[in-house]
């Protein structure tokens, strides 16, 4: 019996090649898309799941409540980690790290002891041995209990160890960082983090040299390992005692008033599970880590389900639409003795065979597409073909989906009454027509929502990447590792400044790109107490040089820029941005004094410019003259960038023969900063395209069936004098009605979802009606295009063939 089922199924497959191709091909495309998304999601969810104690590792987050405004922060004081262990018995271990460029983390030039050639390396961080243990850093050499206890100790990755010491043991060797021969670093450990999925991605771990055990400065990300069976909520509450015990006395010593204590007392602590850090960290938290986004995971999961759903609907639609052709078979089988359950099992078997074929093809598609997908998604996902669960899971899914997709057609087809079928009295029920219409509306609604999403994501991406940022990012070259110039910095700057292809040069590490040096500070009006709940105005204070504003094209709104001729400018002059003026409530700001513990006189106000990712708004900012010589910005003339780079490189090579010339461009860095937005946009758009393609395939096949089913009616009409135009309209209009209904359903849903998505951006496009009109027109256009092929094929119908009496 079963062999018979398979035989019939295979014959049906070969009988009608186009429909088989659409049925299996469409399903396979859906499965491929679904599989890729599943692999992507699996990869995103696999971050930080490798720890032995993964349910007991937490990152500490504090939420300030400053006059009703809630601000989350993950930076704590140096002694905070130790205090947690000594004060709370539930906390077994704690650890901390500092990744601030201000303190020397980030990029560093590096050379082996006894050599002269420097190389620029990225990913330096200061941390303690405690964090080695808490985060279970996989050391293959060195002791995690004390490897980073000394300030000049250094742990490097196995990859770097192999690179620098290709034929020897890296352990115990000495490295010179940033030409600082007074503080050589000794390698006390080698870690092998290859292939490790973790939010903590640093290649060089340095011991902490910071001796400032003050409770006033917060620079350390702090992690804890808690005891089993710890009540986390309770522990979070208890942790607040740290404020009263340590921070308030420190503030008192510093002479702060009681307002600031009261504000601090309202703070709450939160323990963020380590597995949540990668995907579930608030945008507001600035931890200099690269994050995924749980909402995208959900979004993609939804798309995967949709695509599978669309493909499944095609499958059902095509099977039931084909019913007229199968009805005779059903009638005959029943008259020769088949029971309904025989037929149901036959149709289910057929559906499962289709499903398995689709899965095989889908796996093949996914395998073909995986490299492209990895390139788009910036991932290194592999096909888990070797995993024991993979093939059984695929087979099980094929069975399950085959049954789900086949169950409706099976019951529908097997219900035909033989007598009606054999007498040719089969009226293709209007009921099944309604269900089919409903499914088409469902498919098109989803497609239109995806089109709307695609358009809006594209527009938002474009908006961000081309937004007027308040500074000029084009043709600004950033020379990295410039602290290697040492005392030759100014002469180097002069030399390239005089080049005709160079407009301006500025020496400053503080740049309007995320991940560059930052320095947070709190400001107040000079001579007054700290406002804003007693903690002052949280601001950035950046050390720049005299040419900074001109090099980056930052506009002075009031007052003046720094002048090198004015001696006082390098002592107590400050330039602030509009936001600072507004937040401090300064009217007539020029000449006013503000203080961060030191009194500054405002000499100028710059227009607000975006120095964070556009997901975040503009914060208060102050610029002062100072030395921060790691990065040199060079504004070039537009003509012939390449020869300018060559010329500057020549000057660099004579100034710093022992370090390679390294540079990027500001606009590239800016694009990098928003690459997650762009990447997600591209992934979303690709899959949206997939979904639309699947929906169109379905519509195509369905319109073909519609034509097939109505062949007789069309023939009658043709014989009675209908023109091609009449018939085309007749066939198209019904589908167009469905598409219009879909538009009505999809637009409000799409509007709502995309409104929510945009809320994530501090700067965003307005949702205009044009987008929805374009989406509607696109959907209609696609539908007309898809249907037309079939409607036009009607022109070649031979009426006679369909009017013959059987």
């Amino acid at each position: 019996m079963f062999r018979n089922h398979i035989k019939i199924a295979l014959r049906n497959i070969t009988k009608d090649k186009m429909f088989t191709a659409i049925k299996i091909g469409g399903f396979a495309i859906g499965i491929a898309a679904c599989l890729l998304i599943t692999l992507f999601i699996r990869d995103e969810l696999s971050y930080d799941t490798h720890y032995k104690n993964k349910d007991r590792i937490y990152r500490v987050v504090v939420e300030f409540n400053i006059e009703g405004e809630r601000i989350k922060n993950v930076h704590f004081q140096l002694p905070f980690a130790e205090a947690l262990v000594s004060d709370f018995p539930e906390i077994i271990k704690s650890g901390k790290y500092n990744s601030g460029a201000l303190f020397g983390a980030g990029d560093k030039s590096l050379r082996l002891e006894g050599e002269t050639q420097n190389r620029l390396e990225k990913g330096f961080v200061f941390m303690d041995s405690g964090l080695l243990e808490v985060l279970e850093i996989p050391l293959i050499q060195g002791n995690p209990k004390n490897a980073l206890d000394e300030p000049n100790s250094l742990i490097i990755t196995k990859e770097k160890a192999d690179q620098y010491y290709p034929n020897g043991d890296a352990m115990g060797n000495v490295l010179i960082l940033d030409n600082n021969t007074e503080m050589p670093y000794r390698i006390t450990g080698v870690m092998d983090n290859t292939g490790l999925k973790t939010h903590f991605q640093y290649d060089f771990l340095m011991g902490i040299s910071d001796q400032n055990a003050s409770w006033m400065n917060s620079n350390y990300m702090t992690y804890v390992l808690v005891d089993e069976h710890t009540d986390i909520a309770l522990l979070e509450k208890k942790m607040a005692s740290v404020i009263e015990k340590y921070i308030v006395p420190a503030l008192k010593d510093a002479g702060r008033d009681s307002d600031s204590f009261n504000t601090l007392r309202k703070s709450t602590f939160e323990l963020q599970p380590v597995a949540d850090i990668y995907l579930k960290t608030d945008n507001q938290i600035q931890d200099r880590l690269s994050h995924g986004d749980i909402r995208f995971v959900w979004l993609f999961a939804a798309i995967a389900l949709f695509i599978l759903g669309l493909a499944g609907i095609n499958f059902i639609n095509l099977s039931t639409a084909k019913s007229a052709n199968r009805a005779k078979e059903v009638g005959l089988r029943k008259t020769v003795g088949a029971f309904r359950r025989n037929l149901i099992s036959q149709f289910l078997a057929e559906s499962i065979i289709f499903s398995i074929l689709s899965f095989v093809l889908g796996l093949f598609f996914a395998w073909l597409l995986l490299p492209y997908f990895n390139a788009i998604a910036d991932k290194a996902v592999l096909f888990p073909l070797n995993s024991w669960w993979f093939l059984p899971l695929i087979l099980f899914s094929a069975f399950l989906i085959g049954i789900i997709a086949g169950i409706y057609p099976a019951f529908y087809l097997s219900a035909f009454k033989p007598i009606n079928v054999l007498k040719g009295r089969l009226s293709i029920g209007s009921k099944s027509g309604k269900i089919r219409s409903g499914l088409v509306v469902f498919q098109f609604s989803i497609s239109i929502i995806l089109i709307i999403g695609t358009l809006i994501i594209y527009r938002q991406m474009d908006y961000i990447l081309t937004k007027d940022l308040g500074y000029t990012k084009e043709q600004v070259m950033l020379i990295e590792g410039a602290n290697a110039l040492g005392n030759r910095t100014q002469s180097f700057k002069k030399q390239i400044q005089y080049m005709s292809s160079v407009q301006q040069v500025s020496v400053s590490d503080y740049l309007p790109i995320e991940g560059k040096k930052r320095n947070g500070n709190s400001f107040k009006k000079a001579g007054e107490g700290y406002q804003i709940g007693g903690v002052g105005l949280a601001s950035q204070i950046w050390r720049v040089d005299y040419d900074y504003n001109r090099t980056l094209g930052i506009k002075i709104k009031e007052g003046r820029d720094f002048f090198i001729e004015r001696a006082s400018d390098s002592i107590n002059s400050i330039i602030v941005n509009e936001m600072m003026v507004k937040k401090l409530g300064l009217s007539e700001p020029i000449g006013k004094k503000i203080s961060n513990g030191f009194d500054w006189t405002i000499i100028g106000v710059v227009e607000d410019f975006h120095f964070n990712s556009l997901k975040i708004g503009i914060e208060p900012l102050a610029l002062v003259i100072g030395n921060s010589p790691e990065t040199i910005s060079v504004k070039l003339n537009s003509s012939d960038i390449n020869s300018s780079i060559e010329a500057i490189k020549k000057i660099w090579d004579t100034s710093v023969p022992n370090q390679a010339f390294q540079y990027t461009f500001l606009d590239q860095d800016f694009a990098m900063m928003h690459k997650d937005v762009k990447r997600m946009g591209i992934i979303f758009n690709s899959f949206a395209l997939f979904a639309i393609l699947v929906a169109c395939l379905g519509l195509f096949a369905l319109s073909a069936f519609m034509v097939e089913q109505r062949k007789k009616e069309i023939s009658i009409r043709l014989v009675l004098g209908a023109s091609f135009k009449n018939i085309y309209r007749l066939l198209t209009i019904n589908f167009l009605k469905l598409v219009l209904v879909s538009i009505c359903i999809a637009v409000p849903i799409g509007w709502y979802i995309m409104q929510r998505w945009l809320e994530d951006f501090a700067y965003r496009i307005e949702l205009s009606w044009q987008i929805f009109v374009i989406a509607g027109i696109l959907a209609l256009g696609t539908a007309i295009f898809t249907i037309s092929y079939q409607s036009i094929s009607v022109a070649f119908i031979k009426p006679l063939k369909n009017l013959r009496t059987e």
Binding site: E713, I716, P799, L800, T805
Partner: protein, 220 residues
């Protein structure tokens, strides 16, 4: 003369050989004729009728309809010719199930670009003439076979064609219904409508004024 066939043949290729469905058919039809085409199954009756109706082309020979050489004119003109002058009646009625009686009648007129006032008048006339005014809002499935065929004839006649082609019009009807349909044809013929019918039945044949007997594609 309404139409004339000269040495008309129709064949299909089967396994490299020509299989003749019709061979060297010669006959003519005058306006006002009522012709019955007789013959056993497979003798080529329907093929001949479809060829006359221009739904299918003959393979060879000359076919003149209203002095126009159908075998040489273009497809488009041919379609125009039959849409204007020929009405079809089918054995299984071929009414459109989704349309009411009235709408089924309107359809050919709509396609022939009649004005709506004209359509209304013609439909009303026809309903009246065939005595089916009471059924105008019913769907085909609500009618008996005889009534359905009556609507089919009414639809074929509504745009006043010169020729009615009927392929076993009573094949699906019982004898009483069949008689009624044949009576209708006779009356139509009396007022000048030319009719060619294909039939198996001697009884129906008798209604015609001339009989053409076909056997294996030849006139006998």
């Amino acid at each position: 003369m309404l139409l004339q066939l000269k040495n008309v043949s129709k064949w299909v290729q089967s396994g490299g050989q020509r299989v003749f469905l019709l061979k060297d058919i010669n006959f003519w039809v005058n306006e006002g004729d009522f012709i019955s085409i007789m013959g056993p199954s497979g003798s080529g009756k329907s093929t001949l009728l479809n060829g006359i109706g221009m739904l299918d082309a003959f393979s060879a020979g000359e076919y003149a309809f209203l002095d126009q050489p159908v075998h040489t004119i273009k497809e488009k003109q041919r379609a125009k010719l039959y849409k204007e002058h020929i009405g079809f009646v089918f054995q299984s009625y071929h009414l459109i199930d989704e349309l009411t009686v009235k709408e089924n009648l309107e359809m050919p007129l709509l396609y022939k670009k009649y004005k709506s006032s004209q359509i209304k008048a013609l439909v009303a006339d026809t309903l009246d003439r065939f005595n089916i005014v009471g059924k105008k809002d019913l769907f085909p499935s609500q009618l008996s076979g005889g009534q359905q065929q009556l609507v089919g004839i009414a639809r074929a006649l509504i745009a006043s064609p010169k020729l009615i082609l009927a392929d076993e019009p009573t094949g699906n009807l019982n004898s009483k219904q069949g008689e009624e349909i044949m009576e209708t044809f006779t009356q139509l013929n009396k007022v000048g409508v030319t009719i060619i019918q294909v039939t198996h039945s001697e009884k129906n044949m008798a209604y015609g004024s001339r009989v053409i007997n076909l056997l294996d594609g030849h006139i006998v």
